[in-house]
């Protein structure tokens, strides 16, 4: 029996000097090549760290991305970037604005994925942001309807996913954190995801967070991906209960560490979480990861959280006789 594969959602903390270098580059005080060199070093650090931790499916850590939507909109045709808007507290971001037809000039994530994969024999996930989230987290001055905007973005995300697959990606994750924004639009989330994943033979995942899932649990199961990645730890696994009455063939990536707290979960806490997941899903169906991207934590906190996670999985696998 196999199962309980460990993975991460996508982002890891950037070393402080990389953040500083990024700001320098934006001010024109540092060349793009020098920044890219630092990004590669940071990527290599995280690949090595994940290998040492014994994680099964790796991520590049998104060392070259600022924001998960802005990163793509800056590389796509048809987008410009707004002034700063606030998301909460003292957190601000620049919001993309669709001002023309959205199109893709070149592959956007391929180079970083290829580099990360070249460093390891373990599979590295391709990491994309989904069309619904890109459109929802942008202003729209061009398309006459939101749906048209989403469906056009879906085409370019599909092209990117195909490029990753051709390059050898076995796992492609298309994140839709905005999916739960409006329950009545879950159908649009699924419809646009169908465009993204059409013809892909890679294993597909989607990460969804923040929301009232009770209203949309059946729709969630209709999103055409192999694996739903949910933040479950920070809601004390109450989300899992929703799946109990809605048996699904889908796989689930179970979030077992809260990314919004400095506190490192105890081994027993994480094991209890995994056991809760195993009440509803088979070991083959269950992937184990953090709730969300770890980029808001420190490097030490991230590694400590992942270490507990891997140990918890290993102990449960030993108890259950999973190889």
């Amino acid at each position: 029996m196999s199962g309980l594969l460990t993975t991460s959602v996508g982002s890891f903390p950037k070393p402080p000097e990389l953040q500083a270098a990024r700001n320098k580059m934006l001010r024109g005080e540092l060349g793009r090549d020098e920044l890219e060199q630092m990004e590669r070093e940071a990527t290599a650090f995280w690949i090595k760290s994940q290998e040492e931790l014994g994680i099964d499916i790796l991520v590049d850590g998104e060392m070259d991305r600022g924001d998960m939507v802005t990163y793509f909109s800056e590389l796509l045709d048809g987008f410009t970037i707004s002034g700063l808007v606030r998301s909460y507290g003292n957190r601000y971001y620049r919001k993309p604005i669709a001002v023309g037809p959205i199109g893709r000039k070149n592959p956007m994530t391929l180079k970083t994925w290829e580099y990360a994969q070249s460093l390891t024999d373990k599979p590295v996930k391709g990491l994309l942001t989904g069309p619904y989230t890109i459109a929802e987290w942008s202003f729209n001055e061009y398309y006459s309807t939101f749906e048209e905007f989403v469906m056009e973005v879906a085409k370019v995300v599909h092209d990117e996913a195909m490029d990753l697959e051709r390059a050898g990606a076995k796992y492609i994750q298309i994140d839709e954190p905005a999916a739960s924004t409006r329950p009545e639009e879950m159908e649009l989330v699924a419809k646009s995801m169908a465009v993204v994943t059409k013809g892909l033979s890679a294993y597909t995942l989607t990460h969804i967070c923040y929301g009232d899932f009770e209203a949309v649990i059946d729709d969630l199961n209709s999103i055409p991906v192999d694996n739903l990645d949910m933040e479950t730890a920070n809601q004390d696994y109450s989300l899992l209960e929703l799946f109990r009455g809605h048996k699904s063939d889908k796989h689930l990536s179970l979030g077992v560490t809260d990314v919004h707290t400095h506190e490192i979960e105890s081994l027993e806490q994480v094991k209890a979480g995994i056991r809760k997941g195993l009440e509803i899903f088979t070991p083959e169906q269950l992937f184990i990861g953090p709730d969300c991207g770890l980029k808001t934590r420190t490097t030490d906190e991230s590694i400590a959280k992942l270490k507990v996670m891997v140990q918890a999985v290993n102990e449960i696998k030993a108890e259950m006789g999973i190889s």
């Binding site: 808007v85 606030r86 003292n90 601000y92 923040y210 919004h260």
Partner: protein
């Protein structure tokens, strides 16, 4: 016809004369600025956004809610009985707030927004509207761990906010607006809402406005417009059905026509604003009409918010000239 805003205004902009509030708060977090110094920056920014509104041609301004993180926590932090938990999404926006938790009996102990109102009034050559979140919305967006009785919770909050409004009245506020977007998402609770609005407005002398947004009032019209307020703010951008639903407005109240989209950067044309005003004319005469964005402007970058207000005022002026 009076031009106004719904409530909040973007806190930071580029190339502004005042210090950047975001930078000030970060410096405060690092211990490089005292809370008093940050309060000073908030005051400067407040004065600036009032002057921006006036320069754009707005007749009835707000303080921009520069001191508020969001519509919930600014009030809840000062009301006894609340604590706070994790971040949750504000309606269907990409903004978040720390969810208030009701874990004690809710009580008003001291004025919350009175000093803000007094500062704004002293720094504005135009009338200032005080803005509060209504009791139903505040209750709906909080987590109840004490009352286990929605009605009692909402009515207690109505009492708290009535006392706050009385304090504003004492300080000289002539217009007080209550925001109640949540009722449009839970129209089945309208009977409770009516009771809460009666409690909320009891004994208040200023002109009272009730603003809703993100949806239309189908299902609670016409009763909605008979609630004890003198101005009703309705969203005609996200609640387009309001055009068909609201066929009559009682002759003793005014309508706040939300026609500028405060959630998208796409600029309205003067003609679009003018057309909306002409379209509403058979239902509400211009002397009972307020023209405003559909909701608070903080979803936009500062520069876009300002340009939208300028456009709105120009559009309204053109219609006024033609009909005068």
């Amino acid at each position: 016809m009076i031009t106004t805003v719904v409530g909040n205004y973007p806190k930071i902009g580029t190339g502004t004369k005042t210090p950047n509030l975001r930078t000030a708060i970060s410096r405060g977090d690092r211990g490089e600025m005292t809370p008093e110094q940050i309060q000073g920056v908030r005051a400067e920014v407040t004065a600036e956004v009032i002057s921006d509104q006036i320069q754009a041609g707005i007749d009835l301004v707000t303080d921009g809610l520069i001191r508020w993180d969001d519509g919930q926590t600014y009030l809840a932090r000062a009301i006894s009985g609340f604590s706070f938990t994790g971040l949750i999404r504000y309606f269907d926006t990409n903004t978040y707030f720390r969810q208030p938790v009701v874990d004690g009996l809710l009580k008003w102990s001291a004025p919350i927004t009175v000093a803000d109102y007094e500062f704004a009034a002293a720094n504005s050559s135009k009338p200032v509207k005080a803005v509060l979140t209504g009791p139903y919305t505040l209750a709906r967006l909080s987590k109840d761990q004490k009352y286990h009785d929605q009605k009692k919770l909402v009515l207690d909050l109505a009492e708290v906010l009535n006392q706050e409004a009385k304090a504003l009245q004492k300080a000289g506020a002539t217009v007080i607006q209550f925001d109640e977007p949540a009722i449009l998402k839970h129209k089945d609770e309208f009977p409770l809402f009516q009771e809460a609005m009666d409690r909320l407005t009891k004994g208040l002398k200023p002109t009272l406005a009730l603003y809703t947004y993100f949806d239309d009032i189908s299902g609670v019209y016409p009763a909605f417009l008979k609630l004890p307020f003198q101005i009703f703010g309705l969203d005609y951008v996200m609640g387009k059905a309001n055009w068909d639903v609201v066929t009559e407005v009682p002759s003793d109240v005014s309508l706040g026509l939300g026609v500028v989209n405060a959630r998208n950067t796409k600029m309205e044309t003067e003609a679009e604003i003018g057309d909306a005003i002409k379209r509403i004319a058979p239902i509400v005469p211009s002397d009972r009409l307020y023209i405003n964005p559909n909701c608070g402007l903080e979803f936009l970058p500062r520069e876009t918010a300002y340009q939208k207000l300028v456009r709105m005022v120009e559009g309204a002026k053109k219609v006024a000239e033609v009909t005068a």
